[in-house]
Amino acid sequence: MLTAEKKNALEHISLLARENHLTLDEIGAYLTKTELTNKNSNWLINLMAYLGAAFIFGGLGLFIAMQWDSLDSLSRVIITLGPGITTFILGMICCYDARFIRAATPLFLKAAILQPIGMFTYLGEYVDGNDQQLGAMLVFGIVAIQFLLAFAIKRQTTLLFFGFLFWNAWLGIFMDRQDIAGNDIGMSMGLSIICFAWHFDKTMHRGISPFFYLIGSIGFLWSLFDYIESSPFDILFLPAAVITMLLSTRIRSRTLLGVGTLSLIGFLGYYTDHYFKDVVGWPIALMIMGFFFLGITAFAMKMGQRIKSTQ
């Protein structure tokens, strides 16, 4: 949670950035540069800590794999679910101590991997039945609630990331069980994920937005294309790709811009192959249209600068 002092400082920084035409990238690059010029030995301590954690959990994983066949059901559940719950609790404890707050992220990451594995192990060892989807819904539902409740308490970005990921896993399976068509699932969940990323892009948790923009936009456009491919409505993909690019300029997301651009280029290739195969005039027309759009861009920029100078 942001304190009043932090909020004031952020407002001050934002004002300075606007007055001096500083971009987020320039600020981020400068902060990274000053960090790198810091010649104290904190980086060595951090490296040793991460290496130590990686070796411990790597060793645990390998030990489990080697001993799996000789373990009984209870041991299997304890050795998978146990560390998962333990690392989650440790992560929460770290959130309450400013000295260890940076250790929370790797701990939550490990909990996010080990807990579902442990729960699936429990289901596999103790529960009869062959409805794997129901089992997966149960596991992802419980972990989603756990991580999102923890996020509601501590506002850690990692908790939000995994909580939302597990929520989507639960939702996708739930929708599939209702016999909803795959493309409908893809489009609705894709839009949902984009909305989520858009909302949190304006908060301190914006670090996770690019990943969800990527998943959401690819998911939505892929499903939309599957829906309308080779139908009279396939041209509708063009405004969808253009709107993605438009959104990317509004919210300044390079991820969305990349996905929108690649989708547009891919669609032009499909459209050409479908309707204008061997028609040489078509790609020439596309290039002329492209130069036309670039011309409009240059004109719009000049107009914008003229407006600014008169204000």
Binding site: Q133, G172, I173, Q178, G182, G186, M189
Partner: protein, 188 residues
Amino acid sequence: MKSFFKENFVLISGLALPLVLTLVFIGATHLKTPLKDPPKTPVIYAINYYEAIYDIHVTKDGKLELVYTPPDTSRGEYCCPNPPTLYVYTPSTQKEDKIPLPEFEKDKKFKGIIPHPNKLSAETTSPDGWRFEYDYNYNEGNLITIMFGGGSRYGAQNVLKKDTFRVPVSPRKYESGRFIGWSLPETK
């Protein structure tokens, strides 16, 4: 409350969209609008049908006949396939009943009538315009369903079809049914 919705409008809309869609689908599947012209003619079909050994068909005079030919293991034919299971689905009661096959010796050729009260028709379309089909669909999946929803989906069920309408014949899926005939209503 109003300001909460205003501030988080995009997030709430995004989270609500797939849930609303799911509710609409659940509602649509459970709201059974009665068909204007439902199927009336009972259909006979077989599961685990192996025609080379068990040939079940409708004769010219509308009877159900079984011709059993013992497998020729010297030519590599599988020794002992299980006999097919014969069902009659009655649309008016939406019930599926088994039709027992007659007893016969497995090492001898057999030809006999399977008792059935009504006259049968081997036409692929029933008198009321329905067809029996094994409805198969396959969805490759997309990024979202691969990551979150189980990937590709395959579904198959025995159904009665007419135009765009389909009526499931049995609750079991993935059992390819072989159409045998229609059980015609008694003419008075």
